[in-house]
Symmetry: C2
Subunit: 190 residues, 2 copies
DNA sequence: TAAAACAGACCAACTAGTCGGTCTTAACTT
DNA sequence: AAGTTAAGACCGACTAGTTGGTCTGTTTTA
């Protein structure tokens, strides 16, 4: 608290005039970015027709938040274990909503025949959430790749993982999959 | 500390007779499972010839640790942010070693032509590490899938993501990829 | 001039870690 | 076999420092 208050350039009194507890601040931090992804996710889900496009857009937006809200996300994951019950619940609710969107998309993909029939909706969803969420652990702005690039690569990996093999071969979604070695498109590879 | 010592059924004095600090305990906890994965990873890397087999074995073992050392891993990730400098370094060293094994495997896969040429070695590696590491956040022993199943599904997803499309179609690695909807093999799906 | 915004000394609860002491174990002596 | 002894294992009251949070003010704003 002393640290927070000092860094922000305020005082205990000032802080507690706006927040009832440290937990509320933490909750607010989480809510800021989760609300953002959720809105973007819903929008992506609703504006596209094919499950492939939906998934592409959702993942892209999802990855993007880690660029926009890096600080928020880092402190949230660092402190979230100590969050009080009441807040834990509403945090989980919103996260579950996002998870549902991904799951529904994969389900639709299987139904439509675009995605592989043998996919486990639950586990595939958790794999996607995991690989993206983990970004906060390793992403550095000074790193070799921009968030934009990481997003594109993740989309490529995920779509190759879920799409029917024939669909990939048929070049249906050529523009959203990586074709040439990445550097050949004007980006750095590896 | 009071909690740890109480839960374990010992005392402060007893504890500090064996450890110089709480950090050392935390380090020991991490070292237990990281050493395990690393050994398994190296073994997997060295005993297989094709990059595909290597990756399959590495991922399978990697996922497995999360079943074997769930408690270790949970407390490590919960407390690791507060770990002192000196320990942080040796923790990072071992984790980097494992990362290197995965990266080398993907590199080899690209060179051999089994994996897609357009893969970013770094990002693909981080995607794999991420989706597996995230397991500790959601895996419940009471859940619908065993670790064994999750491992198989993750291998299937990852290999579909990295393998050349033609390789998949040719049924070269039929046994390590999922073919039928999972439940048809006697497992629960979704 | 009153309410909202802010300040910071203060507090209770908790943190990791210490230290003087007791108990256990097992090798050594008789 | 019984007694001696010393080192390792273990105990828990205590401490210094930190934590989130309160409360009595003062300042700012409209």
């Amino acid at each position: 608290m002393n640290q927070i208050v000092e860094d922000v350039g305020t005082s205990k009194g000032g802080f507690y005039h706006h927040f009832t507890s440290k937990d509320e601040l933490l909750f607010e931090i989480h809510d800021t970015f989760i609300t953002h992804v959720l809105e973007k996710g819903i929008y992506a889900y609703e504006t596209h027709h094919s499950p492939t496009r939906k998934l592409q857009a959702i993942v892209k937006e999802f990855v993007n938040v880690f660029g926009l809200y890096k600080a928020h996300i880092s402190v949230f994951y660092q402190e979230s274990t100590y969050l009080k019950q009441q807040y834990q619940k509403s945090v989980k609710d919103k996260r579950d909503q996002f998870k549902q969107i991904v799951m529904r998309t994969i389900e639709e993909g299987k139904k439509s025949g675009e995605f592989r029939e043998e996919l486990s909706v639950e586990i595939t969803t958790m794999a996607i959430l995991g690989m993206v969420n983990w970004i906060y652990k390793w992403y550095r702005q000074s790193g070799a790749n921009t968030m934009e690039e990481i997003g594109d690569i993740f989309v490529d990996l995920i779509l190759h993982a879920v799409l029917q093999t024939e669909t990939i071969s048929k070049d249906n979604y050529k523009e959203i999959l990586l074709d040439l070695p990445f550097f050949a498109k004007g980006n750095r590879n590896d």
